[in-house]
């Protein structure tokens, strides 16, 4: 009897020791995770989104950098009173965008989902590794992320996307003192506002169009995901707006758009298409002053574009909670103040 109680005592001691050891290891690896993860303006994309009051977003913008560089939710709110969020990643593939939307719908029920069509004519295989990594890394760990990683990358890379430390531990040679400052880990970026990334640089552009012939395989692959995004949005009770951005270099050729329009009319008749590249004059965009590269608008360009886009949305859709609700709008109001301050600081 005594022997049995001493055995069970020793077992409890060892179990406690093991648990303590694992807890210590988790803390150690957690600290390493924060130290090694590179700091980017866009790190707060999902943390800010998840901090929004539940069901407060009326319009959700998803897609590529053409969203987070061109669409300024702060300006849309100020001009049209629409609470929106720009939830996008650079060169984000459509399968990843689908998973972004799936994750986004866990906490918000937008009235309209606006999908940027930049990726319609792009082959996923040519996506840059670092962009793919950044887009996956930003996502909170959950089923959508796991699904996105599995569908969007080879098996050997899965754990690297799910455990960012595996991807970024090699930064040991470039760490600076700032990486060890816990304060930096939680500070809001001065350039990010509800998903919009502010850029002041001006680079005059010449409008051009890529003559890209319709590639059946690429189209079929991408259309499948656009269709799934539409289905998911419709299932969540949202209307879908497909948006072609106002880039000076348009790479979504007419042939692709016409085909998409036909297919969407057949499969998702409720979805609308907005080709903003055809309205640059109406918007008031100036190729000499409103762009920072051939794809993206700078701060002034984004302001003009966002105001126009907000009015288009307000005129076309009936949005829930249209009046300014003090509680729901608090975040947008606070971000507007921060945005004005940031403009003044420039």
């Amino acid at each position: 009897m005594r022997q049995s109680s001493s055995t069970s005592g020793s077992r409890v001691r060892r179990l406690t020791q093991s648990a303590l050891f694992m807890a210590g290891l988790a803390i150690l690896l957690g600290v390493a995770h924060f130290v090694f993860l590179p700091r980017h303006d866009r790190d707060q994309l999902w943390t800010t989104y998840r901090a929004l009051p539940r069901d407060s977003v009326q319009v959700l913008f998803i897609g590529t950098s053409l969203i987070h560089a061109n669409v300024n939710p702060v300006m849309i709110w100020e001009d049209s009173g629409i609470r929106s969020y720009a939830l996008s990643g650079s060169e984000q593939s459509l399968p990843t965008t689908l998973e972004y939307l799936r994750q986004a719908l866990c906490t918000q029920t937008p009235d309209v989902v606006v999908l940027d069509l930049q990726m319609l004519s792009l082959d996923n295989a040519i996506l840059r590794e670092n962009q793919k990594r950044a887009n996956f890394t930003m996502m909170p760990l959950g089923l959508p992320k796991i699904r996105g990683v599995i569908s969007g990358s080879p098996a050997g890379e899965w754990t690297g996307y799910l455990i960012p430390l595996e991807q970024f531990h090699s930064r040991w040679s470039e760490l600076t003192r700032a990486d060890f400052d816990p304060h930096k880990w939680s500070t809001l970026s001065a350039n990010m506002f509800l998903g919009y990334r502010m850029t002041h640089r001006i680079e005059p552009q010449q409008p051009t169009t890529d003559r890209r012939a319709l590639d059946e395989d690429v189209y079929a692959h991408n259309y499948r995901y656009i269709s799934e995004i539409c289905q998911l949005a419709e299932y969540a009770g949202a209307e879908v707006l497909l948006l072609v951005g106002p880039s000076s270099r348009v790479n979504v050729h007419d042939e692709w758009i016409e085909r998409l329009d036909r297919d969407m009319a057949r499969d998702h008749p409720g979805a609308e298409l907005l080709q903003s590249q055809l309205s640059t004059q109406t918007i008031g965009l100036d190729y000499a002053t409103d762009y920072y590269d051939q794809w993206h608008l700078n701060t002034t360009g984004a302001e003009k574009y966002s105001v126009w886009l907000g009015r288009e949305l307000a005129g076309s859709y009936t949005l829930s909670h249209p009046q300014l609700d003090t509680d729901l709008d608090a975040m947008w109001r606070a971000e507007l103040i921060r945005y004005r301050q940031a403009l003044e600081d420039q």
Binding site: P154, G156, S170
Partner: protein, 510 residues
């Protein structure tokens, strides 16, 4: 199959996915009741593991295993008919058929391409208008290991040293057990079976030592082998890029680094799989015993890839007569063993020369034993002195490293180009930046060399004491500090993840 093809690459021994797989496998193993259920679980895991590594060659492993199981029974039945009596022709025929079928599988998948190339070369030399084309087949992972294990089983059944296994489940598990199926250690079926049948209790101490062993394997592979591999590949993959710049010594450095890389790679792998097996209560044989501390080439081969050398001794050297049939026959037998070893490693002339060179070292060592003894006496050298021992160790290491050049070189022409240049004393390569042009930064190089020094030190200490046991006896605070340090160092400085090109284990190619 398409789903499996997508999953290829997930299950590397040094991946996070493998660690997760291992944790879940161990937890379920100790929850399941009875050895038979646990064996089924291990077989399912092992099959899944092999499918994830090489889905298209899984069926070959299954067919060979099923054949060997049946062949073992036939051979066993024939031998028990006349127990104790000398083997009859049909006994020998049954064994011959069994061994030839298994060896034939190895030959078809591994050597057919080489045989066709040699054959075509001969036909061209004879100017015959006939050139058969043979497609090189996909080499099933671990085929050299599990075919050798299977051959050993059939021979042992024939010799009567082991009984044919009755239960196909246990036999299949002994061959396909996931820690050993890819690259050994070549474990005798009769050593595995009793361990697989036993009901293992969860042993905290065994778990601790197993995890330490796995950690040591990760350290060797990710801190040293894969890092030095970058340097070695840069030099050996394009040796002619290093010509005419007075950088001859870079080849010596690359050969030295390759010696370290190969040891850390293979012994690191062995540590990981021995640790993995120990988690399930299975003790696998030791494969390395501080080989670079060997004081002769013969001693080296007693410490390097021990399970392969044991296999060659038991199933090639001794059946050929060993050292019982005179000096000339002994020399021939040694050369045969090392030529087989060379060919086993790879279907190429460079591997054959590597094997022949090692055989020649051993033969020369034997033939010159008396001359060496005379010199030691004449020069009054104290054999027990530190100086003499260091000289022996360093010279053995030098000879072995020279032979590794053939093992690593892409072709015989490359090896012939590299070896003479290794001895050109271009010492300025250490100061003129040449060392840093081989794919590794100064910091990376320092980490690799410091880690190699730690391994060298622990190997040296392991000759005197059981380091893991010694560590387990220390105060928990010290042990934990070592564990945390080891994990953190590997996690942070290890050569793995997105920005590094993770290399597969060198011996997976064999």
């Amino acid at each position: 199959m398409a789903v499996l093809d997508r999953l290829v690459g997930l299950m590397q021994f040094t991946s996070v996915a493998y660690l997760v797989f291992l944790v879940l496998a161990v937890l379920a193993y100790f929850v399941l009741p009875g050895p038979r259920t646990r064996a089924v679980w291990l077989l399912v895991l092992s099959s899944a593991f092999y499918l994830l590594l090489s889905p298209r060659s899984f069926w070959i492993l299954i067919v060979v295993t099923a054949f060997a199981y049946a062949a073992g029974h036939v051979i066993g039945a024939l031998r028990t008919e006349r127990e104790g009596a000398p083997p009859r022709m049909r006994d020998k025929l049954a064994l011959g058929l069994g061994v030839m079928t298994v060896a034939g599988t190895l030959i078809v998948f591994k050597y057919l391409g080489l045989i066709a190339e040699v054959g075509n070369g001969l036909l061209q030399t004879l100017s015959l208008p006939f050139s058969p084309s043979v497609t090189r087949l996909l080499l099933p992972i671990g085929i050299s290991f599990w075919t050798f294990q299977t051959i050993a089983y059939l021979v042992d059944v024939y010799r009567g040293t082991t009984a044919p296994e009755k239960n196909p489940l246990y036999y299949a598990l002994a061959v396909m057990f996931f820690p050993i199926v890819t690259a050994g250690p070549i474990t005798r079926v009769q050593n595995l079976l009793p361990q697989l049948r036993q009901r293992h209790r969860f042993d905290y101490g065994a778990m601790q030592s197993a995890l330490l062993l796995i950690g040591r394997g990760f350290f060797k592979k990710l801190m040293v082998a894969d890092r030095l591999g970058v340097f070695v590949d840069t030099v050996f993959d394009s040796p002619y890029d290093h010509s005419g710049t007075g950088t001859g010594l870079i080849f010596s450095v690359a050969a030295l680094f390759f010696a370290i890389q190969l040891y850390c790679d293979f012994s690191g792998y062995t540590d990981i799989v021995r640790g993995s097996a120990r988690l399930f209560g299975v003790e696998l044989p030791v494969n390395f015993r501080a080989p670079y501390f060997a004081r002769s080439v013969r001693d080296f081969w007693r410490r390097w890839h021990i399970t392969l050398m044991d296999w060659l001794r038991d199933y090639v050297y001794i059946p050929l007569g060993g050292n019982r049939k005179g000096r000339a026959r002994r020399v021939i037998n040694i050369m045969v063993v090392f030529l087989v070893s060379g060919l086993w490693h790879g279907a190429g002339i460079t591997y054959l020369i590597w094997g022949a060179l090692n055989g020649a070292y051993l033969v020369a060592g034997d033939l010159l034993a008396e001359v060496r003894a005379y010199l030691v006496r004449a020069l009054r050298i104290d054999r027990a002195s530190v100086g003499h021992r260091v000289f022996q160790t360093v010279s053995t290491f030098g000879l072995v490293t020279l032979a590794w050049v053939f093992f690593r070189a892409e072709s015989l022409a490359d090896a012939a180009y590299i070896i003479p240049r290794m001895f050109v004393p271009t010492v300025w390569i250490f100061t003129d930046g040449t060392m840093l042009e081989q794919g590794l930064s100064c910091a990376e190089l320092m980490i690799a060399l410091m880690s190699a020094a730690i391994i060298w030190l622990t190997d040296w200490l392991s000759l005197r004491t059981d380091l893991l046991m010694h560590l387990n006896r220390q105060h928990p605070s010290l042990r934990w500090a070592v564990y945390y340090g080891l994990i953190l160092v590997v996690v942070v400085f290890g050569h793995y993840g997105g920005t590094y090109d993770a290399a597969e284990f060198v011996y997976f190619r064999f």
